[in-house]
């Protein structure tokens, strides 16, 4: 990419998305605190700060589930693509909500006595050999640190300088954060309140996430495993009619990177199938405004020459393509032309 960095590359869609997400967070916390103060009254009353701590904590957990669902959903259906384009903003918001939960909890539970509040909170636990004896705040703090690292390195500056490969490995730490949060809940609130509601919510959440990820992963695995033999450098990508207008199919010759074969108003084009931004699968994208658009973050390339529109200067390799008896043939000789 060659364009001066800006703090946030907002456009009308992203602003709308962020406003809706912020409104949802505010509404969730307000409803949780409001309903909680109505339901828990009398002897079982929960104080307002504790309700706020819980509301922010539950909100962060729900947001993390949504963030984790967006990726596989976008691989299973194009309808989730707009969510994927804006996932980074939702991830940063999740960190901010989790940080508010942690800050309030530290101030509320850790400010008794003269000790360091962070030390008090991080060592909070019961006694004996029960799960309640585990310092349950520690996994929560580890998860918060992972979310911080992800939010802090979410800008494209970090992606460009760490490199897509390392950046993606760092950001896969979110899976570890998710497991830590399950530990934080199971060894924390589930110990003081043996409510079946927590049990069901955690298990349903985990089932939904793993089901979506496995379904999307198996689909991608099958597609990635398929390779086609080239005959004199030409590979049969399939029937032209099988490619919907504005969409693509992926072909991969043995020993070569995948190629995205797009059908668009100008005909058929074949370009390198891996986005220069984060390595997104271009064959799963669409033609938007005359450009091939990556399904992950909306990076664009002109189908005829693989060049990104100005002011960007990325260029992906293109491949010669021809249609013979209604079948699309792609020439694959190396990765560039």
């Amino acid at each position: 990419m060659s364009a001066t960095y800006r703090a946030v590359n907002w456009n009308a869609h992203k602003k709308k998305y962020d406003l809706i997400a912020l409104a949802c967070v505010a509404l969730f916390v307000a409803v949780y605190v409001g309903v909680g103060s109505l339901v828990f009254r009398g002897n079982g009353a929960i104080s307002a700060p504790v309700l706020a701590i819980r509301a922010l904590g539950v909100c962060a957990v729900v947001m993390l589930h949504v963030v984790l669902m967006i990726g596989p959903m976008a691989r299973l259906t194009h309808l989730a693509a707009p969510l994927l384009y804006n996932r980074r903003h939702l991830g940063v918001m999740t960190f901010v909500v989790a940080l508010a939960h942690a800050a309030l909890a530290t101030l509320y539970y850790g400010s008794f006595g003269g000790a360091n509040p962070l030390t008090v909170v991080l060592t909070m636990s019961g006694s004996g050999a029960s799960p309640g004896a585990f310092p349950f705040v520690v996994p929560g703090a580890v998860a918060l640190m992972v979310l911080f690292l992800m939010a802090a390195t979410s800008h494209d500056f970090w992606l460009a300088n760490l490199g897509a490969w390392w950046w993606k490995w760092i950001h896969m730490g979110v899976y570890g954060a998710y497991v830590c949060i399950v530990g934080h809940l199971a060894l924390g609130v589930m110990q003081s309140e043996k409510s079946v509601v927590y049990l069901v919510m955690i298990l349903v959440g985990a089932g939904l996430l793993s089901g979506l990820h496995i379904a999307a992963g198996v689909r991608a695995w099958k597609r990635d495993a398929r390779t086609d033999d080239a005959v004199q450098g030409w590979i049969d990508a399939g029937a032209l009619d099988a490619i919907p207008m504005g969409c693509a199919i992926s072909v991969r010759a043995r020993g070569h990177a995948p190629v995205a074969v797009y059908r668009h108003e100008g005909g058929v084009s074949a370009i390198h199938g891996v986005c220069a931004h984060q390595g997104g699968p271009l064959a799963e994208g669409r033609v938007v405004g005359g450009c091939v658009t990556c399904p992950w973050h909306g990076y664009q390339y002109k189908p005829e020459d693989g060049c990104a529109p100005a002011p960007y200067d990325d260029k992906l390799a293109t491949h010669e393509v021809k249609v013979v008896d209604g079948r699309v043939m792609v020439r694959i000789e190396g990765d560039s032309r």
């Binding site: 001066t4 960095y5 800006r6 703090a7 929960i46 504790v50 990726g71 030390t119 060592t123 909070m124 636990s125 019961g126 006694s127 004996g128 029960s130 799960p131 309640g132 004896a133 349950f136 802090a152 390195t153 460009a160 300088n161 490969w165 993606k168 896969m172 899976y175 998710y178 399950v182 530990g183 199971a186 060894l187 924390g188 609130v189 110990q191 003081s192 309140e193 049990l199 298990l203 985990a206 996430l209 793993s210 990820h213 992963g217 198996v218 991608a220 990635d224 990177a257 390198h272 199938g273 891996v274 986005c275 220069a276 984060q278 390595g279 997104g280 699968p281 990325d314 992906l316 390799a317």
Partner: protein, 117 residues
């Protein structure tokens, strides 16, 4: 508690050095290692502060010996996708094990194993 105090002191020291480094890095260093940071506004520079404070040893090395980044043909993310799939085959097992321990592992006799109203 002493162990936790030591850990927090070391972490605090690391981040304090990082905060000082970050101020210098976002004002001078970022554009040395990345041409796209030249002329960038204060919004971008402020956003780069937390990451710079967290990753300061690595950034300090990059700043000391800036290397031109060579853009290559982007690599396929096959390995990442397979790790995603593998991870989500293992994560449900971990979740069930943790939740089962929390649910069936007995009750804390002191009752202070978790936050209470």
């Amino acid at each position: 508690m002493a162990g936790m105090d030591w850990f927090l002191a070391i972490l605090g020291g690391y981040l304090a050095i990082g905060a000082v480094f970050a101020v210098a890095f976002v004002t001078r260093g970022a554009e040395r290692i990345d041409a796209n940071a030249r002329g960038a506004g204060w919004g971008f520079r402020l956003m780069a502060v937390p990451g710079s404070a967290a990753l300061w040893p690595w950034l300090a090395m990059k700043w000391a010996r800036p290397r031109r980044v060579v853009t290559l043909t982007p690599r396929d993310t096959l390995a990442h996708r397979r790790v995603h799939l593998l991870a989500w085959c293992v994560i449900p097992l971990l979740v069930v094990a943790i939740v089962a321990w929390g649910w069936l592992g007995g009750v804390d006799p002191t009752g202070v194993g978790a936050v209470s109203p």
